[in-house]
Structure formats: C-alpha cells, structure tokens
Symmetry: C2
Subunit: 594 residues, 2 copies
C-alpha cells in the first residue's frame, strides 16, 4: 500500500482538475466536481481508481496545508467587525442544524459520537463559491454578502472549536472527572500556548527577519511549514487533531508579521499547493470512500439528513437573524447563501471515518449532503435575491468603506467634495498648501509621500474600498496603484491616465487590476485651469440605452465636445465613478464637466 | 509503513532546515547540510530518525518537482551558446571520471551495472553553490563563471541522457537483438514524443491561454503539474525513469510559452515546493540509508572512489580544456569549480539503491563522495582563482552582455559613447529626433515606448547585462526597471533617481534590486544643459583608500563641489558604473563631470 504510484497520482490529479474545471464552468466550486469525479471513478461506480497509501499521505499533507490556508483567510479584525447580524446568522445557522442533525442520528440508532460528528458536518457553512456567485448575482456590495462572508468565517471557527471539544472528549475513553479535567486542560493549554506563540513569539520572529532584511521567500515558506507542522504536532500532543494546529498556525500568519510582499507570496504558495495540488487529491479520494448502497439501505436516513441540513440551516439562520432587525426575508436569503457545505465538512467527515466513529454509510451520506447542499446555493440564492431585489429590500453595504484620493489638485478636490457627501473621503498629497484647501472644505487629509507605505498606512488604506490617483503624472498614479493593490489589497483602483506618448500602458494597468478614470486618457491641467477659473459647467445626461463608458466617451469625442465624465448616477441617485470598465444602463445618467 | 506521521515529517523538515541553514551560513549549498544531518540523525549514528513509507512518498514527489525545477533552469538557447570551452570542460569533466569510476568498481569486483551507476555519479557536476560562491570569490563576470555554468548544465543533461540509456538497458534483462531494438526504440520514441509535445503542443496551449486572457496562477500550476506527471508516466511506459520525464517537462516549460508573469510565479512555486519543502526531505532521508561501516569494510574502495572523483574530474576537465586555448591553469580552475556533486548525483544514486543495482555500501560511499567533493569546491576554487588572479590570467566575460540605456538625452548619449568603446550599447527612446543623434554617434537605437514589453524585446533585453534608465522622470525609470527585472531578468539595473520630494523611494528600488545612478539623487536637466553647452569638464580622481560610492559623493558635497561621478576605473583600465552599491578600492579612480 505504501508504494509511490505515478499513474495513480497522475490519474487522480488530472481527474480532479477536469472535475473542478467543469464544476467551475457551471458556476460551482471546484470541490463539487472533485467529489463527484471521485465517486464516479472510484469503487462506488467505475472502479478505475481506489484509495491507496500514497493518496492517503498526500491527502493528509494537503488537508494540513488547506487548513493553514483557511486559517490565513480569517482575519481576527474582520471577525471582530463581523457585526451583530453576521454573528446571529452564523450562530443560528450552526446551532439549529446541529441539534436537528444530532437527534436525527440518535433517532436512527446511531452512537452519540457519530451523532455529534454528523451534527458538526450538518452545521458547518461553506461559502459555496466565495465571491464568484456574489459577483454573478451582483451581490458584492450588499449587506447580504457582508453577512455571508462573516457568517462563513465564524461558522468555520465555531465548527473547529466544537470539533476540538469532541476530539478531546473521545480521547477520554472511560470518563472520570479527573481524567476529563486533565484532557480538557491539555486542550485548553494547547490554545493558550499556540495563542501566546502567535501573539508574542511570531511577531518577534517577524521583526527579527525584517530587521535583518531577510526577504527570502523560500526561507519564509519553509519556516511557516515548520511552524505549521509544529503547531499540528502540538495539537496531537494535546489530544486534539492536527488540523486544529494547522488552523491556528494559519490564523496567526497574517499581515504585519512578515514583510508584506513576502507574506503575500508565501500565502500564494500555500494557496496553490493546497488548492491546486494536494487538497484536490483529498477531495477526489473522499469520493473513493463513498458507497452508493446508502440509496438502498439507508434511504430514509439519507433523506432525513439532507432535509435537516437544508431546512435546519435556512430556518435556523432566518430565525436567529430576526433580532438584527433586517427582516425574515433577508434572513432566509442569508440562510440559502450559507446552505453550502465544503472543505471543512469533508475534512471532519473524513476524520470521523478514519477514526471509525462514523460508518462508511454515514460518510457517504455526508459527502452527498455536501454535494446536494452546494448545488442548491446558486439556485436558491438566485430566487431569494431576486425576491428581495423586486421588493427593493436589497441593502447595499461595503465591507471596506470610503475613498482614498491621491492629489489635492482642484479636480481632485472637486470629485472629493461630491463623494464626501455620501462616503468618507481621505485625500493625500505631498503638498501641504493644497491639503489646507482640502481641510477647509471639510475633507480628511494626510500629508506625505504617497509612494511610501507609511503614508498609505496612516490613511488606513487597508480599510478603504476605492483608491483614486489623480496626479498629472501617470507613472506616479500607476506606482501608487501598485502599492494600493499589492500591499493594501484595495479592491478598486482608478487612476488618471495621461495621453503622454512615452508612458504607462494599458497592460501595466491590467496587471494591478486598475481602471482608467474618465474612461479615457486625460490631461489634468486644462481641467484644473477650468475649475480654478470657474470656467466650467456641471451637466447631466440621461442614457437612453445601455452603453459602455468607453463608447459614451467616443460618441462625445466624435461630436467634438470636450467633456469630462465624472459619475454615473443610478435610479436611486447613487453615484459611482466613471471609468473604462463601467457601463451606463438605461434610466441612469452621467454627470460630466464641460 | 504507509502511515502518515506528523512528528516524523516535522522532525525531518526541521532538521533539513537547520542543516541547510548552517551549511549556507558556512558558504556551502543546503544539500550538504541536509545530507549530513540525515546521516547524523538517521540509523547510521543517532538513530533518532529512520526511513518510512511516508518519507519515501514525499521524497518521490520531491524528486519529480526538483527535476522539473532543474529542467526549467536549463535554457536551450543558453546551451546552444554554451561556447566551445564550456562544452569541452563539461565533456572532459564527465568522460574521464566516468571511465575511471567504471573501472574502479569493476576492479573491486562490482557488477557492470553498479559500475555504470557509480560512473555516472562520479561524472556528474553540480555547481556547488551556484552563484553564491562565484559572488564570494568575485568571479561572477569572469570567463570561468561562464564556463562553469555552461559546464554544469551540459553535464546534467549528459548524465541524464546516459542514465536514460542505462535504464533502458537494464530493462532488457536477457538481451537479444530484437529485444534491445524494441527497448531502444521505446526510449527514442519517448524523447521524440515529448519533444514534439514540447515544441508544438505546449506553445499552442500557451497561445490559447494567452488569447483567452487566462492568467490564473493556480490553474497554470495545476496544468504544469499534470503535464509533469504525464511526461513522467510516459517515461515509465517507455521503460525509462520518471525523473527523465519530469526533466523533459521542465525543459519545455520556459519563457515564452505562458504569460511571462504567470510563468515566473509558477516557477517560483516549483522552486519553493521542491527546494523549500519536498527535496530536503529526500536529501535528509538519503542520509538515513548511509552506513558508516564502509569506513571499516570498504575503506580502500571508499578512498579510491573519492580520489577518482576528485582527480578524474579536475584532470579530465583540464585535459579536455586545452584545445580551448585558455591554458591549463584555467582548465584546472574550472575543474576545481566543477568538482562538486549534488542533487542529480544523489537522485541517481538513490534510484540505483532502490532498484537494487548498487549496495548500501556503495550508496553510502556515493553520499560521502558528494559531501567531500562539495566541501572541496570553495577551498580549491579559492586557491586556484587566487593563483590565476595573481598571474593576471583571470579573464572577464559576461554571460549576458552589453548595456541597455533608456533616454537618448545628452547625458545618456555621453555615457553611452564611453561604454560603447568596450561593450555593445543599445539606446532606447520614444523620441525619434534624439535617436537620430545617437545613430550619428554610431550607437544602436530602438524607438518605442520604453514601458512596453515589445520595445524591450526588440532591444534583446533578455540578453543584456545592465539596464540604465536616465530619463528625468524617476517614476518612468523605476517602472522601466521593474519591467527589466520582472520580465527580462536583467541582472543589473541602475536608474537616475531625481531629488523630487513626492516620488519613488529607496524601498521601491530595493524591491526590484535596482541601484541609484551616480550614487545620489540627481537632477538631470542641469547636466544636460552643461553637456549641451559644452560647459563641463571630465576629470579623474584617484582613490587613496577604500571608500563607498555614497561616502565619496558625500565628501564632495561637503566641499561644495558639484560633481557627477560616472565611472570607477580599475587598475586594468576597465570601467564600471558609479552607483550607490559600489565601492572604490585603492589604486582605482573615479571619472566624473564637473
């Protein structure tokens, strides 16, 4: 069993990739296709592939790296800000299916332990397709997206905490009070020790590396691997499962510990090695352990678990969501969005199977449950959001908020003032005089070299939604956008792109996911002069049909009108910036200068 | 044996890391420390660690990924340009120890097969510490470095070709002519098929991905993994070893197939996962298979192999190097530089051990041989290069050649003209008029936007040694240096850094490994005017003591002299550019404008 088989590895990886690809094409997460292809090619159906020692070992490494990655995605600060509604949804969507799942298994004669494992699996939440489905349904900047994200993260954390408790409990065997106390203290000690290491030792290590100016990516990668396996081993020593150690390691390896750039690159490696290599091997091989007999032998249990999972999750979420005051309809929508099960569920089910706590039949049911619930998400969520949208109850909310505007020139100030009516705007410049003018207009200002990280840090760049660079120098604008993107992960970057010949090009903007302000190459100075001399007019123009921002500009250039389109205003009067990737819809209008 | 053991994994990885770190601190490659720590902690000495199924499987994956990485490092173009001396050194340093090694084993009563395996192991070359040792010994821009690099690459390729032949041969068993023909054809077919895929199918795939604008790093990583395992499996089917498939896959995944940026990121992942994670596991576990008994039982064989390896390599290299006309002393120097054995040797020895072709004793001897020969490199090479240096026979030569200067302004032209006396200079600008002036001065010119990849490609940027950006706009200079670094891997980048307040900062230069021209923030215009009006003098100043370029500038600023240091000239009259990371040695002088 412990032989290395290249053919198996190739077959599993290639089928994982094909399954994942099809799944993603259909708008589902890759894990769905990986599980299904594992069931199809595995012993359950075709029997072409089967579990092996090698696959097991690579899966184990894959799970650990995946848990690090999951931990890395969770940010304590985000959890802290997760807001009341997110917490309510997460708890409701967890507790209700947990209790229902637990009693369902007991009802069908399962052991208490297996009931608890099923309960966790049913209770867990996975954001079925992360941002993809939110983009497809145009939900990214709604309160629902915000609650969903926070809810899934809290749910993962909750699931792992309860899992830790149960794993501890299993360890006890004959439960006497003293034994239980000892086992519980070990587990608690584990969390205390890892937290202390994470909070005190890791930053020291990071500081040392930064001081010594060590930016070797490979070194950081190896160090973090060793740390991960070390935490995992600590978890095992404490009687917990290694995934908890890996998760804790991931939690603490975040922004600010190591050099930002190196951190990001190492995170990418963890992402690719887990999501792009080892985790798919685990998910496909999970399919190998599935048996189709459950459809005959345990059909009623099967149906009950699926119903409990879906109904429990949606109703539970909606019920607990009521105190948020956002209404039961939004609660149900959030519930449908949280209905997916994914990586964490399969990992926990796999551990249960391996430890002999749940049977092959129950494991199979849990895998099918992951598949079914994930399948429901896009369907149900489309229904519920359309329902909300029709009722006008889709509330917008950004996870990141506010604008960062680079360049306190008259045009920058003009745009800042308008944006400031609805959002917080911070304006950056190296020129103090210009900033004084901005302050007089009631804008928040930061003085400093805008190509220095410190300046952007002072401006709270990690919490901003949009970065706008409006200096007359395209290169400075681009370099600043690079910083905003690479170091502060600001989602939206829009820069003024001057028509100078020998300058930055569109490809360079694409690389850092940056848009062109005004959807056209623009000279700053003429507009600055116009605004200075008050020799301009602000006008609005209604769109009669859908038109891209670039075509809008083109049609105006043809008629030789020199206009500067600033905003697109939707029916509700909400403004968004006019840039080259925007489109104007019917019933919307454009605010422009002339 | 096929159990996943977290503790073992942690112990092996952590000890590999510590061993590698110590080794690197002492100026040796990490593999040396990894082998030694494996011997110390393994059954041979302390017995704390031992081989296991898990370690084996992870090692196998590690070897495959490492072979891809080794293949990626070899560039057909470089091999083609490897030059006559490099080829001579590689062949001489291969054949002589190969033959000596072969007969040594036969003499000691070994089988023909084991003799061939030892022969390859003895013949192989590893650049002991890659560029590190070359930097330490200040050899980077010498002909020796160039020959060493080319020699090591050719030797790797040679070793793998012969290995392929032998593996094929082993497969035959009872050798009849028809059987041999069949086995040989399969092997040849493998190389034809993989080459055809590499030359025709892969570029098509790359083109498709680029056309569809698919730049997903994870997708590329998974694809290349599947390709690698596919090639490896093809090799196995053809009766060869999987490492040959992985090597072929690595050879063909090079620049130009996929998007440059994505390619580079995926290469980084292969590098880190192999060098930073799985390969060290293999090297440490190689130490587990070593037995110290050889010092008692096979001491004379042991000593013979070591002597054959060292003397055969150095003498063989020097001998075959004679026709190059570079003298026997340079030949010996190259021989001492090529004396290290490393990854490829240990991989081949490991395969021999696994296949039962070589005994544990011979495997141990080969591991110790790798350790000893690697240890000799810095010592011997220091002696021989000092010897050459004293005799004034250390010839300079760059693997990449020539300068790329951005900015055809008068200062740029002035510097270009001087550099052009000794090296090829290409000057880039978006301004055609200025380029006409450059052409009149006999300079090679390229017209185009210097921030577009195409312009740099036209200028053959991948083959240049130094990139100089001398426009008055620091941001353009920096963006161009980014491109030169990230996309064209130009080793030396030096840019004019203007003293404007709100601009690029030193940290941004560091990120792309770029130096400051003139070792000081400099305004372009005053010097352009001076040169235009012929209102300047070129002067030289001898250095009396070692001084950094920055201190040199500072001392002149104190005395209020406005000077622009251009070059440092060494005793031999060779000029190098004056930048912030340079130092002026005694007996050197500085050429500056005033």
């Amino acid at each position: 069993m412990d032989e290395f088989s290249l053919l198996t590895l190739l077959a599993v990886l290639a089928s994982a990739w094909i399954g994942g690809l099809i799944s993603k094409r259909l708008g589902y997460p890759a894990i769905l296709g990986e599980l299904i292809i594992g069931i199809i090619l595995g012993p359950a159906l075709l029997g072409w592939l089967a579990p092996s020692g090698m696959i097991d070992i690579l899966s184990e490494v894959g799970i650990i790296l995946l848990m690090v990655h999951i931990g890395m995605e969770i940010n304590f600060k985000d959890l802290g800000k997760a807001s009341w509604p997110g917490l309510l949804a997460a708890i409701g969507g967890f507790i209700v299916p947990f209790i229902l799942g637990y009693y369902t298994i007991l009802h069908f004669g399962g052991t208490q332990m297996s009931a608890i494992f099923v309960a966790i699996a049913v209770a867990v939440t996975s954001l079925a397709t992360k941002s993809r489905i939110l983009v497809d349904l145009k939900l990214l900047n709604t309160r629902i997206a915000y609650v969903l994200m926070a809810g899934a993260l809290i749910s993962d954390t909750l699931a792992l905490i309860i899992f830790a408790g149960i794993i501890t409990y299993i360890d006890v065997g004959d439960i006497d009070t003293l034994g239980l106390l000892w086992v519980a203290s070990k587990a608690i000690l584990f969390f205390i020790v890892t937290t202390l290491i994470g909070i005190y030792l890791l930053p020291l290590l990071g500081k040392y590396l930064r001081k010594a100016n060590i930016k070797n990516r490979t070194l950081h990668f190896t160090l973090i691997l060793i740390l991960t396996f070390g935490f995992s081993e600590l978890a095992e020593i404490a009687g917990l499962h290694s995934i908890l150690g890996a998760f804790m390691a991931g939690l603490f390896i975040r922004d600010g510990i190591f050099d930002r750039q190196v951190s990001k690159e190492v995170n990418n490696i963890f992402h690719d090695v887990s999501i792009g290599f080892l985790a798919p091997i685990f998910f496909v091989s999970s399919g190998f352990h599935v048996t189709l007999d459950v459809f005959k032998t345990d059909l009623s249990l099967f149906i009950s678990v699926i119903i409990v999972a879906i109904v429990g999750k949606i109703v539970g979420t909606a019920l607990f969501y009521l105190p948020s005051g956002h209404g039961w309809r939004e609660g149900i929508t959030v519930g449908t969005g949280m209905n997916g099960r994914g990586a964490v569920e399969i990992i926990i089910a796999g551990i249960g199977l391996k430890m002999g706590i749940i049977s092959n039949e129950i494991f199979s049911i849990l895998v099918f449950m992951a598949i079914f619930t994930t399948l429901t998400v896009p369907v149900f969520l489309t229904w519920t959001t359309n329902w909300l949208r029709k009722r006008g109850e889709l509330v917008e909310q950004d996870t990141r908020k506010g604008y960062l505007i680079l360049g306190a020139n008259p045009l920058g100030l003009y745009i800042a003032e308008i944006l400031n009516q609805e959002n917080e705007v911070t304006i950056l410049d190296a020129n103090k005089e210009m900033l004084t003018q901005a302050q007089q207009k009631g804008l928040k200002t930061i003085h400093g070299n805008i190509l220095e990280e410190e300046t952007l840090e002072d401006a709270n760049a990690t919490e901003k939604q949009t970065f706008i660079a409006l200096t007359g120098n395209s290169e400075i604008n681009l370099l600043a956008a690079q910083l905003a993107n690479d170091t502060f992960y600001i989602p939206q970057k829009i820069i003024l792109f001057s028509p100078k010949k020998n300058s930055v090009n569109a490809k360079m903007l694409d690389k850092v996911d940056t848009f062109t302000m005004f959807a056209n190459k623009t000279k700053l100075q003429p507009w600055v002069n116009k605004i200075d001399n008050k020799n301009f007019k602000e006008e609005t123009l209604d769109a009669t049909q859908k038109i891209t921002a670039e075509n809008w500009v083109e049609s105006h250039q043809k008629s030789n009108k020199n206009v500067l389109p600033l905003f697109i205003v939707n029916k509700e009067g909400k403004k968004r910036l006019f840039h080259n990737k925007e489109s104007i819809m019917p019933e919307e209008k454009v605010i422009y200068l002339t």
